[in-house]
């Protein structure tokens, strides 16, 4: 059986991992090294992947009539899938409109911080889903979730700088503790990333654009440090430690564990040898093996993600009703 080379190039594997414009893949600039002559044949390169549309991609590209205009199915699907992203900001809206500093001081970190984490994971989820399904219609969500992650985390930092109770003025409130400093670095990194996540910046930065967008991975790593420093590795025992033990599942509420459970899946499907292995199985027509192997990793991702969403929904509703929870 010939060895499939679709996923065999680390350069191209990683090339999917940052924001891409919402336009179809055809407008995407070629990876910098794609033009260099290599020992590989032309068939090895990215265009082969881009021209091969899955049946779902083709179905999503079909347009239908809606209110006198024609809309692609994928536009509706993308809007529906993108709708949850601004919800964390929506949760804080009543507190903002009523200038309720108590709600901001008590729960903005949980509501917007968790919201930014959710958006980051959803943004990072796009590439593994492309790898697994071979579909590309949902790739624009990566950019949307990235932008919303930036908006949410910047909102969190601004609110914390005004309403937190830490000493040391504005800087003390956003970077007075080491875990806060990690969050501050994340926000400082997310600003240039979001400012350059547009076609104009992409053209201007050329081959450096992709490298620059890879700073998203630094944010991913800093989030690990942020959560480790915030909650440590342990979990609540009695009334001490992290993760609320009142409902009896303190481990599931431990934020670093949630992060790890989600990140395992997101990281695993980005590793070049694993992407090659999946591509080989796809080539052999043995996708069932991929699904069976990936299922537990994905289930672990879902387990972590469900508890992050649980936190987001409950803390968010408390914030929305101006009855903030300081759990």
């Amino acid at each position: 059986m010939p060895r499939n080379t679709v996923g065999a190039q680390p350069d191209q594997s990683w090339a999917q991992d940052y924001y891409q414009p919402a336009s179809p893949a055809g407008t995407w600039p070629a990876p910098p090294r794609a033009a260099k002559p290599t020992a590989k044949t032309a068939a090895d390169h990215q265009p082969q992947r881009r021209t091969a549309k899955s049946r779902v991609d083709e179905w999503m590209d079909v347009d239908f009539k809606f209110g006198g205009s024609r809309i692609k199915r994928k536009a509706i699907a993308l809007v529906l899938l993108g709708l949850p992203a601004p919800v964390p900001l929506f949760f804080m809206l009543p507190a903002l409109l009523t200038l309720n500093s108590n709600t901001f001081a008590v729960s903005v970190d949980d509501t917007l911080g968790t919201g930014a984490e959710v958006c980051l994971f959803l943004c990072l989820l796009v590439t593994p889903m492309v790898t697994l399904t071979g579909q590309h219609w949902f790739v624009p969500l990566r950019r949307w979730y990235g932008i919303m992650m930036a908006a949410t985390s910047i909102g969190d930092a601004v609110a914390a700088s005004i309403t937190d109770t830490f000493a040391g003025g504005v800087f003390g409130r956003v970077a007075g503790h080491v875990f806060e400093l990690m969050g501050f670095f994340m926000v400082m990194l997310v600003i240039p990333i979001v400012c350059t996540s547009n076609p104009w910046a992409q053209r201007k930065l050329g081959k450096y654009w992709k490298r620059f967008q890879r700073l998203t991975y630094v944010i991913w790593g800093l989030l690990a440090c942020h959560l480790m420093l915030l909650e440590g590795f342990g979990f609540e025992s009695g009334n001490n430690g992290s993760g609320f033990a009142g409902d009896g599942d303190a481990i599931f509420h431990q934020r670093f564990y949630q992060y790890s459970a989600c990140s395992l899946f997101l990281l695993t499907l980005r590793l070049p040898p694993i992407k090659r292995w999946i591509a080989d199985r796809q080539k052999e027509g043995r996708m069932w093996l991929v699904w069976v192997t990936v299922a537990p990793i994905f289930a672990l991702f879902l387990l972590g993600f469900v508890f992050i969403l649980n936190e987001q929904i409950f803390k968010g509703i408390d914030s929305f009703t101006n009855n903030p929870s300081n759990e």
Partner: protein, 194 residues
Amino acid sequence: MTSEAYPGPARPGVTTGGVMIMAISCLSTLLLIAAFAYAAGVGQRHTAALAAADCEPNLSPSGQQCTTQPMMAAEYLALLAPASQQLTTDAAAYAANEGDHLAVAEAALTAEVAADRALGRSLAAFPFPAGIAPIAKGLIQANLARAALTAEQARASSLSRMQSFDRRVELADAAVQTEMTLVRTAVDAPLPGA
């Protein structure tokens, strides 16, 4: 074409990627099994944790981690105090005007009815423990009866007719006060089983 570029085995056996994903998959499976085993004991740990924190399990859904006896008493007082203050103010306004200003007296009674009904709604939503709930129900009913009577009084067309309700309202008020004392005693007392 690709087979020329990458001459590999006819059927790739063990590859780095294969070993890695199998190992991660096995690790994930073990973690999932551990998670399910842990989840099986959630109920017991929940009860134990609340007991250790001196909480009553049925008092927890108020959005707090745990509601202890003093916390519940404080919450109940926090609910009652502003309502009582409002009712006292409205009653005083009625008493000052029942002799000569029909419109003002009517407005005071209408405000009293609104405050009474708001108190009734707050009491109905309050997470009373099972032992106190029946007593609280009595308070809610007495409060509703008083509100209905005051509303009827507010609709009176003359001052004399309005004043004719005073005695009945006083009795209804006394009934509410009695029920309030019962609830207050129950809330301040140690919870059953604590």
